[in-house]
Amino acid sequence: MGVFDPVIELTRGLGETLRSFLFERTVTYQYPEVKREVRPRFRGRHVLKRYENGLEKCIGCSLCAAACPADAIFVEASENTDEKRFSPGERYASTYEINMLRCIYCGFCEDACPTEAIVLGDNYELSFTDRRQAIYTKDSLLEPVPASEMLTPRKVDSGVFTRSVPEMKDPTD
């Protein structure tokens, strides 16, 4: 260590900050205008998925509510009929509520779901001004239908949608 090392080191430090002041590009995202891409496994607001034919994947089994460590999910199931069919199988979720103030975004509901109906999406812009608004109902969670003629509930032929859990091609999947 030379005599001038302290001074040299201090000056080098100054040079470093000056370099970033003059030449380095800022890493800031101008947030509301520019949004950052989320990672593929990002856990944001929940989405209730649909099949390609427009039927809801959720069958109202309440396994997500059981798995939820924060007790944020409330599910109430009702019977499907072929006249008014929401989802394949016997039952569907007539009420599906998530209290976003309780949710910890752990993703256990995703894991518990037998039909992969509930998925943590990429929306992180949750804001509400009172506690009522924090409870997200089924209308706001449900994914929009792929096309306008595929709305639920709908009248279907009897005997088609009997299985509530889809048959898997590869059981290990």
Binding site: F4, D5, P6, L10, L14, T17, L18, S20, F21, T26
Partner: protein, 375 residues
């Protein structure tokens, strides 16, 4: 007659208050760029209205007065800190003079013949505000911040005074106007570069800026002496600190960097303040901006110095160094005048740079001793 001074005083206060507001923006933006961020750029074009937003927020914030504070002192302390930082600027010449009708309007509020003494005394009054704030808050962190501040001020004010002495010796006057005028041929920073450097270091300690911001060391003392303050009272401390930064940069510019005067080699061109009076404030503003940039730059770069080392640095390095500098300056000027040989003027920068190198060597020795565990 008196109206002129009133108007000048108001204008100066207004300039300082606005300057303070925009200094905060300047600092935040510059600091952000050094940290590869953008900084506040939302309010108004490029964040130019940010200071106003901050002011509105601070004014309307709830002001808490903790239950067991010494109320009178608690309320008085911010005032006592702000006022000196405002009136410090009164003696600083901002330019030459201009004619308004048949009246000559000079660009300073007061032309004190002991201007430097005025600055030295007022600058040290500001520390009372900080100490009293720390003490009246009835909070041990605030108390420690206040004590540190006073100890730091006492240690660094000696070197500050000696740096004033360098400028006084070189200009042969205590009047700031004459000090500026004496720099028309050569800035004192060129004659006495180490003196200017020491002055800058000492002023950093004097305005409690990083790396000497011990009184408000967040990691150790939460916020230091203003830990218990909120709302507008806190804003007053903030204001005082930033105004002192501006004023002390003005003083540094005046004493060592030619004040409102142009570069010495532009003396006889149209860029000279002797030919265009309005260039004076502009030059001073530019110099202040550059000096403030240095302060921000240092804050962005260097970590806070430990308290005992701060004291050791002040007493063991800066004080002897500035004493030597005063001696070197005085001897050089005396020899040059007595022996009528201009060559002796050149001995001042040479000898002072040598003494600075010796000082660096002493710092090195100190550091090595400490790292070897022998104190």
């Amino acid at each position: 007659m008196w109206l002129e001074w009133v108007i000048k005083g108001f204008v100066l206060c207004f300039v300082l208050l606005t300057g303070f507001a925009y200094l905060t923006l300047y600092e935040r933006r510059a600091l952000a760029r050094m940290q590869v961020r953008v900084g506040p750029n939302r309010a108004g074009y490029q964040g130019l209205l940010q200071p106003i937003a901050d002011a509105v927020k601070l004014i309307f914030k709830e002001e808490l007065t903790p239950a067991r504070v010494y109320k009178v002192v608690f309320i008085l302390a911010p005032v006592l800190t702000v006022v000196p930082s405002l009136i410090l600027a009164a003696v600083i010449p901002l330019g030459t003079s201009f004619m308004l009708g048949d009246r000559e309007i000079t660009l300073y509020v007061a032309n004190l013949n002991v201007g430097i003494l005025y600055i030295a005394s007022i600058a040290s009054i500001a520390v009372y505000g900080i100490v009293l704030a720390g003490w009246s808050s009835n909070n041990k962190y605030a108390m420690l911040g206040g004590i540190r501040s006073s100890a730091q001020m006492i240690s660094y004010e000696l070197s500050l005074g000696l740096c004033f002495a360098i400028a006084i010796i070189m200009s042969n006057s205590m009047n700031l106007n004459e000090i500026v005028f004496a720099q028309r041929d050569m800035w004192f920073a060129v004659m006495q570069p180490v003196g200017a450097l020491v002055f800058m270091i000492v002023t950093l300690a004097e305005v409690n800026r990083a790396p000497f911001d011990m009184p408000e060391a967040e990691q150790e003392l939460t916020a230091g002496y203003h830990a218990e303050y909120s709302g507008m009272k806190f804003a007053l401390f903030f204001m005082a600190e930033y105004q002192k930064m501006i004023v002390i940069c003005m003083i540094a510019a005046t004493l060592f960097f030619g004040g409102y005067r142009e570069f010495w080699f532009l003396k006889d061109t149209f860029l000279s303040v002797d030919q265009n009076w309005f260039l004076g404030p502009i030059y001073l503003l530019l110099k202040v901006i550059v000096l403030l940039f240095f302060m921000i730059w240092i804050r962005a770069t260097w970590p806070r110095i430990r308290y005992d080392r701060l004291m050791a640095f002040g007493w063991k390095i800066l004080l002897p160094l500035s004493l030597v500098l005063v001696f070197v300056t005085a001897t050089g000027i005396l020899l040059a005048q007595e022996l009528n040989n201009q060559l002796y003027y050149y001995s001042i920068p040479v000898l002072s740079i040598i003494s600075a190198i010796v000082a660096v060597a002493f710092i090195y020795r100190d550091l090595r001793r400490k790292s070897n565990g022998r104190i």
